[in-house]
Amino acid sequence: MAEIPRAAVIGAGPAGLAAALKLADGGLRVLLLDAEDRLGGSPFEFGCKATDRCANCYACLTLQQIRDVQTHESIEVVTAARVTDLTGPPDGRVLHIGDRQEPVSGVIVATGYRLAEVETARPDYGLSAVPGVGTALELEKRFRSGSLGDSPPRTLAFVQCAGSRDSAIGRDYCSRVCCTYALRLARAIHHRIPEIEMTLFYQDLTPAGAGFDALVAECESIMALRRGLPAKVYQEPGGARPIVCRADTLTGRISEEPYDEVALSVGLWAREDPELESVLGLAKDEHGFYEGSSQHRVLLAGACRGPMSIGEASEDGRVAAAELLRRVGTTVRGAVAIIGEDEHAEAVARREGFEPVRARAMSGVAGAFIAETDEAAVPVVGGIFVGRRADAEEEPLPPHVRSLYSKSGYGKAQSARRVAILLDFWAPYSRIAHEKALELAASRTGEKQRTWILCRHAFTGEQGLEALMTQVRESGTAIIHLPEAPEVESGLLTYVDPGMGKRQELKVDLIVAAPSLGPTSGQLLDLDAHHLNGRARLGAAHPTETPVEELQPPSNPHLGLSGTPREGIHVIGWLRDPGTSREAARRAEAAALADLATPRQGGRAEVDPAKCAICLTCIRACPHSAPVAVYDEEREKDVSFIQPEACVSCGLCVSLCPASAISHSSHSDESIARNLEELHAE
């Protein structure tokens, strides 16, 4: 291992930190560089947005990642670092950091984004000019310091898309994270300072991950969410308050409303660094985000590739690291069970160096998984539960409505003259439905063809979809927003126009809609005789069969976007967050796989079989199913055994064991007792 040069990671935000940790855990030495004099990147600026529950923003994970890189013996951190050159032959690359020259095996670029220059891009929003107008980030800082609560404004308006989704300034893409950021911030503010009346002006609400519908529903009950961005924000004549001037896109009416404060949700722009771009041969897309590198073993991760959330950036960092590890050839891979039908997942698994095993069920715990195929029981290192294929069985739609996902429905819709496409009325919002609808609309170029897209929400979170949406709009497709489903008869839709408040009838030849897709039918079984060399007796924490629906993992930043409480089991795709078929979804699969290949670090819980009363307390209590009952041949009785690969070393069982039979390797009773001795050290 010593011969392999270090891997360099440029940028210590969530993607860079995750990449560095992944590389180091994978056996490489790592040089982690950041241009700032601190680690953490942009999320370091963000506070916690929990109410009574975690808001799943992932910002707190950055501190954990910083601690982990700082304490990892294989990672060297250099701050205020400037990369000046990359020289040498492909198998002997040398990275120049100022005067320092460092041989590297590969480079991961994770330099993140910069905030939009709203003052210059949208001077009509009054930032830095109109008193009471600020950015959402500034608002958050005042909220966290307590100064917002000390003198709260009576009214507060959030304005989305400041610097993005704006073709007038050449930024016709969605920054993807700002809607969720603003909604979570508003919810947190309401939780602490409920008296502030809040309004949020938006174009479309862009979902970011599972739970977005619930967030929107919650926010609808505490604040006004209004479609239509302001044309401008100006100072109240003779007063001190900002006035928000806008045309309501639903009603067309122009309104001028004063607010005590206006918070702009500032878009994400590509970082500009000509020196680095030229040194690393980075290619950029039309908006300046990096697309690739002409150089050998220079990989990209995180928001330098395009706007993404903290969680997505972390996963992206792990994927890039896994890729680099694979190219360097240091990781040991195995077979992985893919449960549910998804060719993409299998392709990604192969790409990541795993042997995919298509299984109908799997059983066991990490370190002792068995995948059940139709023919055999195969040992695997982990399992990926995926959503079902789009053409599989669907939830029923109303009569006269064809499925957007079925070949016949989609095919007929391509040729019919007047077609209505209904999106999120009988199914939760999904980006894949949205993508498919836009593709369908774009393909309908016939002279007499007319298309209507009816939806509750229209989102543009994925890069490329924004342009597609503009294209179909310009070619005459009408996009109609309705708060609830229209009445459907054969060839006829009836709805109340939200702007005019009048009943409208729409005659069409064909109606297609996105149905709700049921989950795949895989199962997670409990331990059986295959496991732990035939010693396993029972693992009572879970029912013997867990249908995959019940595997729906709780949203939890520590589990990432695909993880579950059970180590080695990941849930992705439809079951988690129906994304588009584009790269982001594929990378989520890759991230799930990336997690499987790394041995877990940290302490262990271990049972002393001599003390174990086999009371089953640990087996019942462990949320990770790590303890199992095994037959101890020496003692000729059952005892509890904690499967090391499945244990996350939380110590829950240690502190519950009534026989005090479980010890913790890094946090033993003795070490805690030594900590307590400090009480005497006056």
Partner: protein, 229 residues
């Protein structure tokens, strides 16, 4: 298993009195499994005794140990040295353990730290339910495996009484009526007709009424003196 409950600390402290050297002895069998008197609970009790003494401005010495079982004299042998030292031993074993330890060490002051409650089973993690009355004359084959002796508040053998409503017991609306359960269970097994017969009065002679009960396995048991013969 035998299910027990920790006694309130006040009661234990009153029994301990002004003893300065206290041994808390745990049992690694039933009372460990029912989270009442294993190593952990003994450690908690010992700590409480120390804290209480501290608050009262006294110093006491408390030691803890844990035996595999308190219901076999061989395991109790481990206590000999500790009992030399201790003024008093608080047993967190069940009442059986307290009895036997007191018999093995007749001059030692051994006090119960638990109230021994019943023979029960884990119903859900952290909850145990009484299942058997230990009456010495099992009728479970006639009642679908549901013990009317302990699961019915009135131990009725020809139940249910008039207070059974909505499947619940009149004594506690959270407790299922055992006879409703028996009727349902036998119906499930297609044996409802069996309930038409009048169950005769029970012979309680095999139960506690007969005084201290004993069980002898002749194959193993050797009466005193027989061994030498």
């Amino acid at each position: 298993m035998i299910v027990a409950d920790r006694k309130p600390l006040d009661e234990i402290l009153e029994m301990v009195g002004d003893a300065n050297r206290i041994l808390v002895s745990a049992c690694n069998t039933c009372v460990t499994v029912c989270l009442a008197g294993g190593r952990r609970e003994a450690a908690i009790l010992a700590s409480q005794i120390r804290i209480h003494a501290q608050e009262a401005g006294r110093t006491v010495e408390v030691r803890e140990n844990c035996l595999e079982r308190h219901c076999d004299p061989e395991f109790l042998a481990e206590l000999a040295g500790e009992l030399e030292w201790a003024d008093v031993m608080v047993s967190t074993a069940c009442g059986v353990g307290v009895n036997l330890a007191s018999e093995v060490y007749p001059s030692a002051r051994i006090i119960p730290g638990l109230n021994t409650s019943f023979f029960g089973a884990t119903d859900a993690p952290g909850r145990w339910l009484e299942m058997c009355g230990g009456c010495g004359d099992c009728v479970l084959h006639r009642t679908g495996g549901i013990c009317p002796i302990v699961r019915c508040a009135k131990s009725i053998l020809n139940g249910p009484c008039g207070g059974s409503q909505d499947g619940k017991c009149e004594v506690d609306p959270d407790t299922p009526c055992a006879w409703q359960e028996i009727i349902d269970r036998l119906a499930l097994q297609g044996r409802s007709a069996e309930l038409e017969a009048v169950e005769p009065v029970k012979d309680w002679g095999t139960s506690h009424s007969g005084g201290r009960r004993r069980r002898i396995v002749d194959e193993v048991f050797q009466a005193e003196g027989e061994g030498e013969a």
